[in-house]
Symmetry: C2
């Protein structure tokens, strides 16, 4: 039986899950694939701290180099995270002829071009199933399952923290800060939640999916990225009145050869399946030109789900598979955010006076923005919310119109807008 030796750098949450699966599923994987995966060594800065699974001393080391340079090890699994030492480990492992498996979305999104070039030139493989969607085998689906498809569009809920927060806000009518605090208490958000709530983690992941879908270089710096910190319970309630939910979507789509890459809160029709993806769960909607609409759902994080993806990669590489000669060198052009077209939701805080709607819609008209529906809430002494849904408009026109509207004397606070997906009314 073919033996393949594996070394793991990083014995944290995902490392622990991976070790557990490698040990507990060794026989199952042998039976299913004819390959014997041998865990040769695990490296971590701290090998004293107790973990859910305890390993014999000789399997542990504090020196990652022992793994990277071990001539017996075939596959190096990088699970330390971050973009500094992790990169060094991976580049060195490749230089030593090792295949690499990683869950590190930040690293691939930001340095993927360099890493994949190195691997490509050396004929080595990089498994990165665990970098997007946790246990959901979305990378394999896109690379292999949908290999006969041009990917028309990808819409992903690919950050569990923000989806948990938005779900809490929606179900309980609470504010962002309260929901964030709950997420932190439950361990679904970190003490510094910036990467998640500002959409950066989602941007990392959509960078990877877009490169896979379109064969283009990793283009993290070209992703438009807007987080969920400004979403209010009020906007969620209005969205519901119009039949929408607010989700943080990561979007990649192609139209007339131009690729859109963006992460932002999005109003999604509530009867869409992706609207029902709640809590920490992830889902990726992929539209292929042959297959049509598909969706993949599961846990986007966690020790065992992510470990499941890491081990699937190890198995694929051990089988000598891993498919595409991953070469992200397609020529491409990314549409500037100002040029995208979308439907929009606006909330204005306006004095409740006759003529306000006519003034605002006048500005919209000047900028080719056509109104689909309006909600004007009850009469009040001071300012009241005026909510407008538009047909498809160009982002640039919207920004220009808003600048004018925010200067109108009848408009008190700064206006709010959220992009809207779905069929046009």
């Amino acid at each position: 039986m073919k033996q393949v030796k594996v070394g793991i750098i990083g014995f944290g949450t995902v490392g622990t899950g991976t070790v557990k699966i490698l040990l507990n599923k060794r026989d199952l994987i042998k039976k299913r694939t004819g390959i014997d995966l041998v865990l040769k060594k695990v490296a971590d800065k701290n090998i004293e701290k107790p973990r859910e699974i305890s390993l014999p001393k000789e399997l542990l080391t504090t020196d990652a180099g022992e793994i990277i340079r071990d001539p017996e090890i075939d596959i190096v699994v990088e699970l330390v995270g971050g973009t500094t030492v992790a990169k060094e480990f991976i580049m060195e492992a490749l230089k030593n002829g090792k295949h690499v498996v990683t869950a590190n979305k930040a690293l691939l999104a930001e340095h993927g071009n360099e890493i994949f070039r190195e691997a490509f030139e050396r004929g080595l493989k990089i498994g990165f199933e665990a970098s997007v969607g946790g246990g959901i085998p979305i990378i394999k689906v896109m690379k292999e399952g949908l290999v006969a498809n041009k990917m028309l569009a990808i819409y992903g809920i690919i950050n569990g923290t923000t989806n948990f927060i938005l779900t809490k806000m929606t179900d309980e009518g609470i504010d962002f800060q309260d929901a964030l605090r709950q997420a932190q208490t439950l361990g679904f958000a970190e003490a510094d939640p910036t990467l998640d709530i500002e959409g950066i983690d989602s941007a990392h992941k959509i960078t990877i999916l877009a490169s896979l879908a379109y064969g283009i270089p990793f283009s993290f710096d070209r992703v438009y990225c807007e987080g969920i910190t400004k979403i209010t319970a009020q906007d969620i309630a209005f969205a519901r009145e119009f039949g929408y939910k607010i989700k943080l979507l990561a979007i990649a789509k192609i139209l007339n050869g131009e690729i859109e890459l963006r992460v932002h809160p999005t109003m999604v029709p509530e009867h869409y399946l992706i609207s029902k993806v709640d809590g920490v769960f992830n889902a990726i909607y992929v539209e292929g030109d042959s297959v049509g609409s598909t969706l993949y759902y599961g846990r986007g994080a966690g020790s065992m789900p992510t470990g499941s993806a890491v081990v699937a990669d190890i198995v694929d590489i051990a089988k000598g598979v891993n498919t595409m000669p991953l070469d992200f060198s397609e020529k491409y052009s990314i549409k500037p955010m100002e040029e995208i077209e979308s439907m929009y939701y606006f909330r204005f805080t306006a004095l409740d006076r006759p003529g306000v709607l006519s003034k605002i819609s006048g500005v919209f008209g000047e900028h080719n923005i056509s109104i689909a529906s309006v909600i004007q809430k009850g009469r009040a002494q001071g300012a009241v919310p005026l909510v407008i849904l538009t047909h498809k408009a160009r982002e640039k026109d919207v920004l220009q119109a808003l600048e004018k509207i925010d200067k109108l004397p009848v408009v008190s606070d700064k206006s709010v807008f959220i992009r809207v997906e779905g069929e046009e009314a």
Copy 2:
């Protein structure tokens, strides 16, 4: 560049989609995989009839043998359907050393053991992604993406016709016959819809998924199979009152080493994602012991979606991949249907007299069936529906209790029951 030659037997709906994709995506697939897929020949009884894509005469033949015996052809794609000539074509192709790709779920479910044994002994591959879930890459997901998982449970909506009918009945309150007629008019149901509406097609497909999940021989004759013909608009309405939808689920799960294999209408909590899978769409929920809950959604039929799956299989085989040495020889035991445990929905047609509920619940009590909730609709002169939801009970106890209840003088019509999934109340 590696060239792989393909012959297709059957130029119908799926054959046409496959041919279109092979021709139109030849360059894309070359670029993505480094493999040049050459369509060498297409066989059909009728090669005169106009199709969506027209092929040069020399590519067409009425003799499948020309493909099966062509020494240049590497992969034979069987798309004629049925369990007679299709089987001969596949067995002969294998004997001629060809790899085989098929969308034929009936054939695999009923003769898969013989076919896979032949392939296994000859070291040949059988691709069958298109046999379940149309364009959804569920076979690949289960074989490879979730290779590190023991599959705890599979719940599938894997027949688009019945899901369309149930969705119509649910959304429009119409009866089964009306919904079936609509499905036939729209081309979603065949003139003879038996295979679909009696659950047989779903049973074929769950047979395949169960063999894949548990490594067991194809066991179609062991699948409990009940269709949707007895579902009424009334039961759908009551289900809704309890917070459930009625779906035709194909279920495979393992508990204490015993496998359950069953297809039947099932009440599913309406907040479950799979409840939202409507119309002709399919979805398969897979629970793995590492990955947890996952779900895969897409079109379960159609020329292009199914063609997408066929071509993905061709690519995998061309790459020399196709993973597991498919050997369905695990020892197994399938739980007799009478021994399964489930929650149940009952609808009795009872005279509206005091003491009816006490009589019925008395019988339930004798058979260890515990009631969770009751709806008794308005008072009427004659018989009224009495609806009961139970906690988990054993199927055998339920059947015995029903036999007694149906003999009670206060119960007029034959009782109706539907199995219920979800958490216990």
